[in-house]
Amino acid sequence: LAKTTQPISMDSYEGQEVNITCSHNNIATNDYITWYQQFPSQGPRFIIQGYKTKVTNEVASLFIPADRKSSTLSLPRVSLSDTAVYYCLVENMNYGGSQGNLIFGKGTKLSVKP
């Protein structure tokens, strides 16, 4: 199973763009990259998912280079409410049997300051 490595913490200021990079050197052909956001005392919440190149939604963008060994979550113009822990997850999309388990890393604690 592909493991992920992320920075433990990051600091930013309101209005800045924040980029959080995740390393997943052992990613497999069937693996997708997914990012979750978690606020204190809540369960994680899905942000974005991608396989290659670039994916964008109303919340964030996800950049994945051609070799797929890393990915970058980009949060445009962060606000105080974006202060949270962000998890990068590599998922095998063939659910069922032993392929269905999903491994979270330790996440990146983002602190946004005024």
Binding site: Y32, T34, Y36, S41, Q42, G43, P44, R45, F46, Q49, Y87, E91, M93, N94, Y95, G96, G97, S98, G100, N101, L102, I103, F104, G105, K106, G107
Partner: protein, 117 residues
């Protein structure tokens, strides 16, 4: 909206007690998961289930068991609670079977904070 409901937000139990943590989802999801979350360790997978009566061990199954008698309900059982099982427990569900690849989105409950004295 998908709703994953965990039976208790906060529990306090004594060492040696049997503890049941219940989780119910209302979206007919095939897959259900139990994680525990501890400071500095992130989320660690305890058990997961991809179908009724099916279960698979995650990273840290020791000291836990699970039950999935109905599709919407996934229970985590601590047969004899110990102080090192004091933690936040998170249940999640997702769509997907071995025949139909999943969307990849996990839906989490609010969590159950268990304290074992």
């Amino acid at each position: 909206d998908v709703k994953v409901t965990q039976s208790s937000r906060y529990l306090v139990k004594r060492t040696g007690e049997k503890v049941f943590l219940e989780c119910v989802q209302d979206m007919d999801h095939e897959n259900m998961f139990w994680y525990r979350q501890d400071p500095g360790l992130g989320l660690r997978l305890i058990y997961f289930s991809y179908d009724v009566k099916m279960k698979e061990k995650g990273d840290i199954p020791e000291g836990y068991s699970v039950s999935r008698e109905k599709k919407e309900r996934f229970s985590l059982i601590l047969e004899s609670a110990s102080t090192n099982q004091t933690s936040m427990y998170l249940c999640a569900s997702s769509f997907g079977t071995s025949l139909i690849p999943g969307t990849g989105e996990l839906f989490f409950g609010e969590g159950s904070r268990l304290t074992v004295l």
